[in-house]
């Protein structure tokens, strides 16, 4: 909302500078975002009369003009083309200074001498218009100062009005705030003398078919109207507030809208068919061509103003071309009404059209002042558009609102606000804000919320008024009080934090990606689950169209982007949610994803030796196992199973107690090529819930071993089809309760073993909890294990 200070002063007196006033308004909740100096802030610019226009001999787009300015003529090279000989224009002769501080000098442009410059509005600081030079009224006297025509520069406050304060979308509304803050008295505009309350003649036939959608409709009939330009001062104010002047009738409706906050609409009565007005819902499929030139198809959720044949306006949003005010208009129907905010909002959103009117109606206008605003505009039309006939008016207002009376308890207000303020000061604030206060007693007062303040509904709303007008600086800051709130339902949040710290301790750096991704990225990693994806109906773009169903694609993409920045070896992790649709319902789950590329995490060996698939797989798997150990998940088991995004044969499902909790795999080579990874990329993705389930469990302690252990090694040659897991299982199955540890210490292949075979070597530890084992006992245990390996896994035991 733009508020010219001079307009504001019409309704309230104040001594503050614009800067001080802006500060006061901002600190009371009416945020002034900027203070603009608008208008001609140049010196030496005068009215010039273009005497002749000739082509520049060497430049197509330039012309050479003779310009008369009072006592002498100037020769001027000009680049604009929006003028002709005989026009008056803003002219800056050599020596003038433009808005940006540019000093005009005599110069030569493409070889032609120029003694000044014809100026566009932006160069003069009047607007940001640079479409052509500024053409002045024909009556302007050549040589006179430009300021005489456009006025002195004006200070305009640019105010951000919060959604709950529709009353502040008007000059008078802001003036009321200023009066309350600065102690001035609000002066309301006076109605035109010729427009008394007398009712002259019912206008036509107004029927409100949807009184919920239109609680009040008033219309004035004006005759003998002469449509022409509106007065300069009015045009100037419209300009200052960011509106374009159109003609006297339309300008007056806009002027009153800005001044009072009440949107109005003027129809050409001779273009209304059937001499009647109906406020109703649109019939499905009905069409209207609105003032912006668009033809709009309507549905029954749209409220329209119709004449005897069809819609002539989108109620509260925009008029139709069919009944637009023309130069030839002589009879005007002036509508001032109140429409349901929700209806205007949804229609405006559905039709994709918004206006200064709809922006006010959807927040709510003062229904009690609708008639007054109409009469104010009618008076201006009598004064400035020659509306000679007495206006008739009609007012359809079946249900008048009950005033809201709200009790304000002073003590409770002080307690809630933590402010020291007297009863009298509180009551005074309400009065200054234009509210009626009665039933005053020792405990409080009763405030009648004014109709222009729809936001004042309950006592807390009154306290807010006290707080913002008295000043939030007066709130005494109280040190944090600590009445303890015994709660323990934040275990999960603490466990997640613990998990994050653990992964970091393993060397991984945290990344954070968006929850939405492109379908194309997910497709790269597999389309198998495409039907279970949660697709956004209204995404910001196709890059962010689908909620991620896995953290893996963005993890790989992130590693790829880092590789492209010459950071190929990374350890990354992300903790975030993944989404999907199950049985038609949206679902989500917390996941952890770890990514490891190339040599990252390698401790021994050269940093130049390329990473092998084996080592990358074992490192990412090792990280997962270490995490499991740290979070006390219990032992993971692993089951080979390829995913769409993994290299065949390089993926395992991670399971806990038989239930799948995650996946560990190497990214398949087709995807590695996509991001030009030179070396293997390992990924582990797990559900967070099972990972952290035991995180804070207390350990169940067992005694430290009291008796020595005996170690025995076993080395064997087995078939490639025999896995380490199988060997360990076989050893544990055959071993006695005294078998406490099975550790793999060597694996190798050699030609002598033949193809398809490898050697695995383990060290086993035997220990009794009740006595010292003898060598003989250990040997007997070990022989049994060896035998089981021979018979169960066809292992060839290598005796040393």
């Amino acid at each position: 909302m733009k508020v010219p200070i001079s307009w504001l002063r019409e309704f309230v007196d104040f001594d503050d500078s614009a800067e001080r006033l802006a500060e006061r308004l901002t600190m009371s909740g009416t945020e002034v975002e900027g203070i603009e100096k608008v208008g001609c802030s140049c010196t030496g610019v005068v009215v010039g009369e273009v005497l002749s226009v000739a082509k520049h001999p060497r430049a197509d787009k330039l012309s050479i003009c003779r310009v008369g300015a009072g006592d002498r003529e100037y020769r001027v090279v000009c680049g604009a083309s929006n003028f002709k000989a005989g026009d008056r224009a803003a002219f800056a002769p050599a020596g003038a200074v433009l808005a940006g501080g540019l000093l005009i000098k005599e110069t030569s442009i493409r070889g032609e001498f120029s003694e000044g410059m014809l100026c566009a509005e932006d160069e003069l600081g009047i607007s940001d218009d640079h479409s052509g030079i500024m053409i002045l009224p024909a009556a302007a006297a050549p040589g006179s100062a430009l300021q005489d025509i456009v006025g002195e520069p004006e200070t305009v406050l640019n105010i951000e009005v919060t959604w709950n304060r529709p009353d502040c979308l008007s000059i008078i509304g802001i003036a009321r705030e200023v009066a309350a803050l600065c102690g001035g008295r609000l002066k309301m505009p006076e109605l035109h003398a010729g427009l008394g309350p007398r009712k002259i003649r019912e206008f036509a036939n107004v029927e409100v078919a949807d009184s919920a959608g239109c609680p009040r409709y008033t219309a004035c009939a004006l005759e003998g109207v002469v449509v022409g330009p509106s007065p300069d001062w009015m045009q100037r104010r419209l300009h200052l507030c960011g509106m374009r002047p159109i003609n006297s009738v339309v300008d007056i409706t806009n002027y009153v809208l800005l001044e009072t906050g009440h949107p109005l609409h003027a129809f050409d009565r001779d273009l209304l068919r059937g001499d009647r007005i109906v406020v109703r819902r649109a019939v499905a499929g009905e069409e209207i061509r609105t003032l912006d030139g668009e033809t709009r198809k309507l549905h029954t959720g749209v409220l329209v103003i119709a004449d005897g044949e069809g819609p002539v306006a989108l109620a509260g949003i925009m008029g139709g071309e069919g009944s637009e005010i023309r130069d030839a208009t002589t009879r005007v129907v002036l509508e001032s009404a109140c429409f349901d905010p929700g209806l205007i909002h949804s229609a405006s959103a559905d039709l994709g059209v918004a206006s200064e009117s709809s922006r006010r109606f959807e927040r709510g206008v003062d229904v009690t002042a609708v008639g007054w605003a109409g009469r104010l505009a009618a008076g201006l039309m009598v004064e400035h558009a020659s509306a000679s006939a007495s206006p008739g008016s009609t007012d359809v207002w079946p249900v008048k609102p009950q005033p809201r009376r709200i009790r304000c308890r002073y003590g409770r207000g002080r307690d809630l606000l933590g402010m020291r303020i007297s009863d009298g000061e509180m009551a005074d604030i309400f009065v200054r804000l234009g509210m009626n206060v009665d039933e005053k007693d020792a405990g409080g007062c009763t405030v009648t919320a004014p109709a222009f303040r729809p936001d004042i509904e309950v006592e807390a709303d009154l306290f807010e008024e006290v707080a913002r007008v008295h000043g939030l600086g007066e709130v005494a800051s109280a040190p944090p009080r600590s009445a303890l709130v015994p709660e323990s339902d934040d275990v999960e949040e603490r466990a997640v934090a613990e998990c994050r710290k653990t992964v970091m301790a393993l060397g991984f750096s945290e990344i954070v990606n968006y929850s939405f991704v492109s379908a194309a990225l997910l497709d790269l990693f597999g389309k198998g689950n495409a039907g279970g994806r949660l697709v956004l109906p209204n995404p910001v773009s196709s890059d962010y169209a689908v909620m991620r169903d896995s953290l893996v694609p963005q993890m790989v993409e992130t590693m790829g982007r880092n590789a492209a920045h010459q950071v190929p070896d990374v350890l990354f992790f992300e903790m975030g949610r993944v989404f999907g649709v199950s049985d038609g319902a949206s679902i989500e789950e917390g996941r952890l994803c770890m990514g490891l590329s190339g040599k990252a995490g390698r401790v021994e060996g050269s940093i130049r030796t390329p990473a092998t698939a084996e080592e990358v797989f074992l490192r990412i798997k090792g990280a997962a196992e270490a995490l499991g150990a740290a979070l006390k998940t219990g032992r993971f088991s692993f089951r080979s199973e390829d995913r769409e995004w993994t290299e065949p044969g390089w993926c395992v499902m991670v399971e806990l107690a038989g239930a799948p909790v995650g996946v560990i795999g190497l990214v398949k080579s087709a995807l590695r090529r996509e991001w030009r990874f030179a070396e293997p990329v390992g990924i582990c993705e797990m559900s967070i819930a099972p990972l952290i389930a035991n995180c804070f469990s207390s350990p169940v302690l067992s005694d430290i071993p009291a008796y020595p252990s005996i170690s025995r090694d076993v080395a064997m040659i087995v078939d490639d089809s025999v896995t380490h897991e199988q060997v360990v299982s076989a050893i544990r199955a055959a071993g006695p309760p005294e078998l406490t540890e099975v550790l793999l210490f060597d694996t190798f292949r050699s030609e002598s073993m033949g193809p398809g075979k490898r050697s695995l070597a383990y060290t086993l530890e035997y220990r009794s909890g009740v006595r010292t084992l003898t060598d003989e006992e250990a040997n007997a245990f070990h022989d049994k294990v060896k035998e089981a390996l021979r018979s169960g896994l066809k292992a060839e035991i290598r005796e040393s």
Binding site: M27, G29, E31, W163, R165, G342, H345, A349, D415, L416, G418, E459, A460, F463, E464, A467, R468, L472, G473, V475, A476, S477, A478, P480, A483, V485, E487, D490, E492, E493, R494, A497, R500, V503, M504, A505, G507, F508, S509, E510, I511, V512, Y514, S515, L534, N538, V540, N562, H565, V567, L571, G576, R577, F579, V581, G584, S586, E588, A600, G601
Partner: protein, 337 residues
């Protein structure tokens, strides 16, 4: 054989080891006392023939002999080696071997810091789902039915009528639905708004909200709490101020600024020359919100506040563009160790 004999053999062996002047001599000493046919095996053999009541003491003495003599031989060996072969010392300046340390994302770091700071004044953490009901995200928070924030242009609505939460306030509703006052929680989490991404906006962002409900909580308590938090987060010297604002959820509503930590309030690029930096939206919980969750607004009052995590990170660490936080460039991230 008795323990004294073993002790004297030990002294003899130790002296011999110490007297060895080269590796050969030392090896001879080792063989004589510890070798296969040396003193030690004979001693062990003798152990078997000793009377049972003496075995334990003799065993301990024999073991002491073995350990002491072995140590003496080793000590002398290293003494001879270093004395004789004074080759180059190990280069202790070589880089150590350990995988790197990880870093925490600045978004997590801000949440962690805030959790710790608020934890010290009794706030616990509560979380809720990203996918929320319209009721908890808007209606229960007293948002008018045609408030612009409900528009499909602002909020991500899903096919099933749910939505991606636009704030973490619905978590406050969840907490109040399941607990009786007093309540004191912060609710960090991810939120979504249909903003076009630029240097300061991101459609996917994070918030920390807070809620304190108890008997006689005042705007002054809110001020004190935010003052404490912001000083802990941004530096002890900063001041805060409240400006009135509008949020459907609170009444009165305020915006909270703190005096710029870079220029101490004198005006600089970070605070756009105003001396103040906007940090939080806050206010006293609207009684209509309390009624929705079954609290008696006459019996309790409360305050709520909300802050953008990315914004705090940007202000605190001097990050110019919010997109840096989602670019996940290791060269940026590893600075947050």
């Amino acid at each position: 054989m008795d323990e004294n004999k073993i002790e004297s053999l030990k002294q003899e062996a130790l002296a011999a080891a110490a007297a060895a002047s080269n590796a050969d001599e030392l090896e001879q000493v080792r063989i004589r006392y510890l070798g296969r046919n040396g003193v030690l095996p004979a001693m062990m053999k003798g152990l078997k023939d000793a009377p049972p009541e003496a075995r334990a003491g003799l065993g301990r003495a024999a073991n002491d002999f073995k350990v002491s003599v072995q140590a003496a031989v080793e000590d002398r060996k290293s003494g001879l080696t270093s004395a004789r072969q004074a080759g180059p010392a190990f280069d202790l300046s070589l880089p150590g071997r350990w995988r790197g340390v990880g870093s925490m994302h600045p978004i997590s770091k801000v949440i962690e810091d805030a959790t710790r700071i608020f934890g010290r004044i009794g706030f616990t953490v509560a979380e809720g789902p990203d996918i929320e009901t319209a009721y908890r995200n808007f209606e229960a928070l007293n948002t008018p039915a045609h408030h612009p924030s409900l528009d499909p242009g602002d909020t991500f609505w899903l096919e099933d009528g749910m939505l991606l939460r636009t704030q973490t306030s619905p978590v406050q509703i969840r907490v109040m639905e399941r607990r009786k006052p007093p309540v004191r929680v912060i609710t960090p989490g991810r939120c979504y708004r249909r903003d076009t991404t630029d240097a300061t906006h991101s459609a996917n962002f994070h918030q920390i909200e807070g809620l304190y409900v108890d008997a006689a909580v005042s705007l002054g308590d809110l001020k004190g709490t935010l003052e404490y938090f912001i000083r802990e987060m941004m530096g002890a010297g900063v001041r805060i101020r409240f400006r009135p604002h509008f949020f459907p959820f609170t009444e009165p509503s305020v915006e909270c600024d703190f005096s710029c930590h870079v220029c101490a309030g004198n005006g600089c690029r970070v605070c756009k020359n105003s001396g103040w930096i906007e940090i939080a939206g806050a206010g006293m919980v609207d009684p209509r919100v309390f009624r929705k969750v079954g609290y008696d607004p006459e019996a309790v009052t409360g305050f709520a506040f909300g802050m953008g995590v990315e914004r705090i990170a940007m202000v605190k660490y001097g990050i110019q563009d919010i997109r840096m936080l989602y670019a996940n460039d290791l060269r940026f991230l590893e600075q947050f160790r």
